[in-house]
Symmetry: C2
Subunit: 467 residues, 2 copies
């Protein structure tokens, strides 16, 4: 059983760290974006170095006080707030925010965990390179949290998720020891892959304090189109066609449903729609091409080929940077429009790519049996990752629905079709029950064994990922 | 302490499995390619299903008998042979060799662990796709071993190593439980990354029994050149130029030193050299391009640009498939020429890319202080992965050198410069001492904790990776 981070323990920590590094947490450290939980925290600590992180962790281990690692606070599954049990130490990495080194010739950089994702992107851009991870929250999210949650976002199709962009991590484990893994090697087969074990563990196995990351060459030209397709199945055929024609150069392939345009028209009419009538389905396609290509010619050729194959019904190709941003604004405004409409239940799911059309049809049918709803199904189709969100029928209130039953209906189907009930947001506290319900029994037992081995006192982000 | 797999235990296993699945191992199961060790094994078991693997593992756990998982036997660090201690069970996956499913539209396939790498490549080719992992031993190496050792090879620069090409694994752990991880999802953030923990663990944490793997679109055209460069530093500048011009399409970037041509001329003169005088340094560059490109034009443009920048002194671009294969034959024959010359010590190392030129200069200088030697330094420069192999001076015998001192000299320098002493071959039994000497102390302690948690009896590949 853990002990609370009380005033006496705060004094213990204050004696270990320089002045100003220990204080009561402001409200923002106890909130999360969707307002599902309110965290509690007796003490906020703001270390400036790995040695200070180690000192805090050792003191917590000694006193059996829980630690909630805190990055930018943008997680969507409650991993950053502890709502009940003994009050924890909130350990924020925000004062460890340096971009330490950039090696353009190696396409590598080294950053402290508290650097924001935007700062990392800027450092890469400053070196003429691209750090291709991109999220709505990139101005606030910090790289330690981005790695701890293995964040995804828009660029995964081409460049992979946070895991794929990380060459090495430095982390403090529950006993205060440090794993020094800041190598920047493309190949290193010396022992177990603790880097990937820490990435995605959501702070429950250790605290990531710094990382070496990959960069990629910047595409010379980005050419963007919004293409009307008949169905999700047609969208997938279009994706296969694009990847065959320009493999490795499809930067984004996002699905948009008519419901998205309807919500935008109702709540954010200034965003607009490039078509006279909102299409049932369309995709936002972006190619990032090197200078050896004539980008417009490539996109026009793709369009002609897709048209000839009957895969697209209509489409617009951005002819200027302003038009390109206008198309992206549609995609990026959908989550806010959703928020303004108010979902009964939201789902961050993934499926085997070829199962996506059948899933959409079956989920829509299953939900129809639970009463009138509207479904906004959109997202990273190229990754098999859908944000399948369920809303009240026009004029009805979401309070009139059984949100838990809706979620179970969607997640049961995802599980039955070989999918994941958390594609990119993680488990946090929201999906601990889902993990128990849908997770492989052998994997869960092995996860518990690993947790017990690396954090025998259970002080690292208590209650996140595993109960 | 473990017990030997004796006749009585063989009878126990034989009672659990169908006829013919338990027998005494033939000599080939006790050999490894470099002949450093001779394995011992009381019993060979050849299961046909996961359930049979589980039965064997449970019996071994019950009797405290060690298990050496056996794939194709091609590993270069002795992970597949146990030379001393109680004789283990050798568990070969060769009868579980099915390619179960291929999903071309998803660029995914599912295979059993005993499928050879070549069989996986063929299955992908049959679906019009590419499985891009490529090794000299691909006809023999089996996918379970390829994953267990996180194998690398020629295609890593563009497509990543075995880890990067794996979507999921099924594995039997030391207690006989199964981790069922055969999902084929591009995004799945539900809990700890046990897949990557098992990949690269060399059978010391569990036995991989099946896997889901990625495929990629086949490039429409491969265009290959051998380009003479002034130095490794110039080669790296050329690489940066190529990756900027055709990002994501550089399929291979291999460094070759004059010594390699000299060894070929002496031992395999039929291989030839495309230049009138063997160059000090050259690179084998391959681009794999989609059909929207005029491949020869792209390569010619690259050459012209490199020439203008002073990065290449000479070069040949393959004008036919036969010429292309001729260039590859040079690269691929170098290991055999090395074997015929006979190395004092061979090193599979990696370095931060920008440190490679300095490493080569410093290592050559350090070795010069140990007596006259010849160094053949070649390999996957694009990955920072060199095969830095040391040979006796002309006319001298390798017995006259202190091989251990040579290896220590090279490895000490690699470690001091932030590199890895095992880039792609793994730890096996050969580099257990290197891991202890050069490994991060925190990482080693955490590795031991994970090993103790998942294999408390120490039956899984005893003595591999960790002592």
């Amino acid at each position: 059983m853990l002990n609370p981070a009380d005033a006496a323990f705060a004094a213990t920590l204050a004696a270990l760290l320089p002045g100003g590094a220990v204080r009561a947490p402001e409200p923002r450290y106890l909130e999360e974006p969707r307002g599902r939980w309110r965290g509690q925290g007796g003490v906020l600590v703001l270390p400036r170095s790995v040695a200070e992180v180690q000192a805090v962790v050792r003191a917590c281990a000694e006193a059996r006080v829980g630690i909630v690692p805190w990055g930018g606070g943008t997680g969507l599954v409650g991993g950053q707030v502890l709502p009940d049990g003994p009050a924890p130490v909130i350990l924020s990495l925000e004062r460890m925010a340096a971009v330490r080194h950039v090696w353009p010739g190696e396409n590598a950089l080294e950053v402290e965990a508290g650097a924001t994702l935007a700062a990392v992107q800027e450092a890469a851009a400053g070196a003429g390179r691209l750090f291709p991870l991109s999220l709505a929250s990139e101005g606030t999210a910090r790289i330690g949290g981005v790695l701890a949650t293995n964040a995804g976002g828009i660029g995964v199709l081409r460049y992979g998720n946070a895991r794929d962009l990380c060459l090495g991590v430095e982390a403090v484990l529950a006993d205060g020891s440090v794993i020094g893994g800041l190598k920047r090697l493309r190949k290193d087969n010396t022992g177990y892959d603790l880097r990937n074990l820490l990435i995605g563990a959501e702070g429950s196995l250790g605290i990531i304090t710094a990382a070496t990351l990959r960069m990629v060459p910047r595409p010379a030209v980005n050419v963007t189109a919004m293409l009307v397709v008949e169905s999700p199945a047609a969208a997938l055929r279009l994706l296969t066609m694009c990847q065959g024609r320009v493999p490795g150069m499809v930067s984004a392939f996002e699905l948009i449903k008519r419901t998205g345009f309807e919500f935008l028209a109702a709540k954010m009419p200034e965003v607009g729609c490039p078509f006279p009538v909102a299409p049932d389905w369309c995709v936002l396609l972006e190619l990032g091409l090197p200078s050896v290509f004539d980008a417009e010619e490539v996109m026009a050729g793709l369009y002609a080929e897709a048209d000839e194959a009957g895969l697209v019904q209509d489409g617009v190709i951005a002819a200027s940077e302003a038009q390109r941003q206008g198309l992206w604004r549609i995609r990026e405004s959908i989550p806010e429009a959703n928020r303004l409409v108010g979902a009964v239940s939201s789902h961050d799911i993934s499926l085997p790519l070829s199962a996506v059309p059948e899933f959409i049809a079956r989920a829509d049918a299953a939900l129809a049996g639970m009463g009138a709803v509207r479904v906004n199904c959109f997202g990273h189709l190229g990754d098999g990752n859908l944000h399948y969100n369920v809303f009240p029928a026009e004029g009805r209130d979401k309070a009139g629905y059984d949100a838990a039953a809706v979620m179970a209906c969607v997640h049961d189907l995802v599980d039955a079709m070989g999918g994941s009930v958390s594609a990119e947001h993680g488990v946090g506290r929201l999906k601990v029950g889902d993990l128990e319900r849908y997770g492989d029994a052998g994997k869960l037992a092995a996860m518990r064994a690993v947790k017990a081995a690396l954090d025998p006192l259970g002080i690292m982000n208590p209650g996140a990922v595993l109960r």
